[in-house]
Amino acid sequence: MEKFETFTGVAAPMPAQNIDTDKVIPARFLKTIQRKGLGKNLFNDMRYNTDGSEKEDFILNQPAYRNSEVLVVGDNFGCGSSREHAPWALSGFGVKCLIGTDFADIFFNNSSKNGMLLIKLPQDIVDELMEDASLGANARLTVDLENQTITRPNGEVVKFDVDPHKKHCLINGLDDIGLTMANKKDIDGFEGKDDMSRPWMPSTAAK
């Protein structure tokens, strides 16, 4: 996983509530066996007409927002399917950070495992950042994970909370598997005890 570094980027406003992962990446694009290459289909049915041409009014098709690195989103973004193709598509497009009041649980987890930072803030602050985002390409936000701050175009600094474990993994570009493997002895110990206490647990091998 790539390290999350402080950046200054264009933020796009997407105020609609409940943008589900089927909207982020429709199911027909899940047939890939790769993680890469999904950025072009991000928000496919909101972004393109059926003939493949761009819908001019869609936010990320507008000249100011074509290189957005931040999305300021409505409540419950990422609800629905557990598809990790949703964060893959977002990061493939170049999105590094999403800001909203709340995100769906599985999407939230999946995003952090792909180097993306999801920031939860109270409604009034999200409303202010949404207004900043609507100002276009000249109103950029600076996101600093180390210090847990967002700097607004007017210079005002907003603090945010982040889970310390997620922060550590994002800043150092660590994936959980390596960290967990370091605790192999604990897993061995659990299995040894569990084989005794729950001997009826099924094996999936042929019956």
Binding site: P15, L30, K31, I33, C79, E84, N110, R198
Partner: protein, 469 residues
């Protein structure tokens, strides 16, 4: 005295491998279900890092999302779908994972086959790279949907990293009216608590109306927990659970069965257990339900009219409703029963079990599907299909004009050839009415199997109670 604990608290405590200072826990996973769509990148990750599967004997794989529901002897026509299924076949061979092949009678939707084979058991932790993994909570298991990075994590370590969820209890008491099924109960619940109402929580469904459901009905309810945003849904195991499991291929046998049941009986929440959030509903007030919009929370009784944006308080919701009505091509104020449908889909991990097909056949018997309407019945597994055929349900449905298909996820998410054309409208027993879910531009109304069959006969959304005596 020990602090009273919920069903969730007990299962969690029995699976903690280690806890970090900040409360993050490493949780052991008893059973991992894998399918072709969310596993290829996880297997590739193992290959790149030279890692092995820690517990292939606690992992089972099946292809369900992509596969055709028509004649399979010709293979899969779509090259991308075919590659995904072939990749799974190659991966299970390389990593030694037990697999139900496409021509195996046990093949089916991953959430149907776990319970059917007796692999899903009370007190287990269970994961799958699919949000409807919550289905398995019907057995008093803790079952999470996870992403592909977590699938790889479970492959390599048989654990996941999580913080404990909050406890929510949804109690549904009373006797539901005639025509009301598990699907109607859960649509009413989601309609009440909202699509983000369960975020951060595990929902325990309780009350007589839940206890009185069959295991199949309980699976329908838990299946849709994710549509309320919950991490998982669960129901306390009881005699009905044990009876369902007894004698299934992977259920414990002999002395192990006795030992397992004794443990399972300790799992239900303690009487004084405290929940972070409580919701209570009266089943007697829940009539057959249907969704009108593009979120599962957009649910109303079949007798209602299509709402107006201004019926909702929150401005964001009003905008959402206006957008939904435009997408769905509906006018506020019209009777929901006047909405015409082109397609009826009966199946999915929500409603693709034998009881669901029986309910559809009961309505369809001796009647005919409306002219020009396409009606598909897609059993949830090869064994469901076989059992339905043994009861003659396929004959009843085919005589009524329904198509009787091979098992799979099918039109629930339209990854195979079964899909809606732009602007087409369905009554569907699946779980999501999101924009484009059943095909780009398709419009979905979620209903129970009996309500879907009623819509197929009438050609429009209909009140199933007219068909029941």
């Amino acid at each position: 005295m020990a602090t009273p604990r919920t069903l969730f608290d007990k299962i969690w405590a029995d699976h903690v491998v280690r806890t970090e200072e900040d409360g993050t826990a490493l949780i052991y996973i008893d059973l991992h279900l894998a399918h072709e769509v969310t596993s290829p990148q996880a297997f590739a990750g193992l290959r790149e890092t030279g890692r092995k599967l820690r517990r292939p004997d606690r992992t089972i794989a099946v292809a369900d999302h992509n596969i055709p529901t028509t004649d399979r002897s010709k293979g899969i026509e779509d090259p991308e779908s075919r590659l995904q299924v072939e990749t799974l076949e190659k991966n299970v061979k390389e990593f030694g994972v037990p697999y139900y092949a496409v021509d195996d009678i046990r093949q089916g939707i991953v959430h149907i086959i776990g319970p059917e084979q007796g692999l899903t058991q009370p007190g287990m932790t269970l994961v799958c790279g699919d949000s409807h993994t919550s289905t398995h909570g019907a057995f008093g298991a803790l079952a999470f949907g996870i992403g592909t990075s977590e699938v790889e994590h479970v492959f390599a370590t048989q654990t996941i990293v999580q913080k404990p969820a909050k406890n929510m209890r949804v109690t549904v008491n009373g006797v539901p009216p005639m025509g009301t099924t598990a699907k109607d109960l859960v649509l009413a619940i989601i309609g009440q608590i909202g699509t983000a109402g369960g975020t951060g929580h595990v929902i325990e469904f309780a009350g007589d109306a839940i206890k009185n459901l069959s295991m199949e009905g309980r699976m329908t309810v838990c299946n849709m927990s994710i549509e309320a945003g919950a991490r998982a849904g669960m129901i306390a195991p009881d005699e009905k659970t044990f009876e369902y499991l007894m004698g299934r291929p992977h259920s414990p046998k002999g002395g192990a069965w006795e030992q397992a049941v004794a443990y399972w009986k300790t799992l239900p929440s303690d009487e004084d257990a405290v929940y972070d959030t409580e919701v209570t509903m009266d089943a007697a007030e829940i009539v057959p339900y249907v969704t009108w919009g593009t979120s599962p929370q957009d649910a109303l009784p079949i007798t209602a009219t299509v709402p107006r944006p201004e019926d909702f308080e929150d401005e964001g919701r009003q905008n959402g409703v206006a957008r939904s009505l435009e997408y769905m091509g509906l006018d506020s104020g019209m009777d929901i029963q006047d909405i015409k449908v082109d397609t009826v889909f009966i199946g999915s991990c929500t409603n693709g079990r034998l009881e669901d097909i029986r309910a559809a056949a009961e309505v369809a018997k001796g009647r005919k599907v409306a002219d020009g309407l396409r009606a598909l019945v897609v059993p949830g597994s090869g064994l469901v299909k076989e059992a339905a055929e043994a009861e003659g349900l396929d004959v009843i449905l085919k005589e009524a004009g329904f198509e009787w298909r091979e098992p799979g996820c099918s039109m629930c998410l339209a990854m195979n050839a079964d899909k809606l054309a732009p602007g087409e409208r369905s009554a569907s027993t699946s779980n999501r009415n999101f924009e484009g879910r059943q095909g780009p531009g398709g419009r979905t109304h979620l209903v129970s199997p009996a309500m879907a069959a009623a819509a197929a006969i009438k050609g429009h959304l209909a009140d199933v109670r007219e068909f029941l005596s």
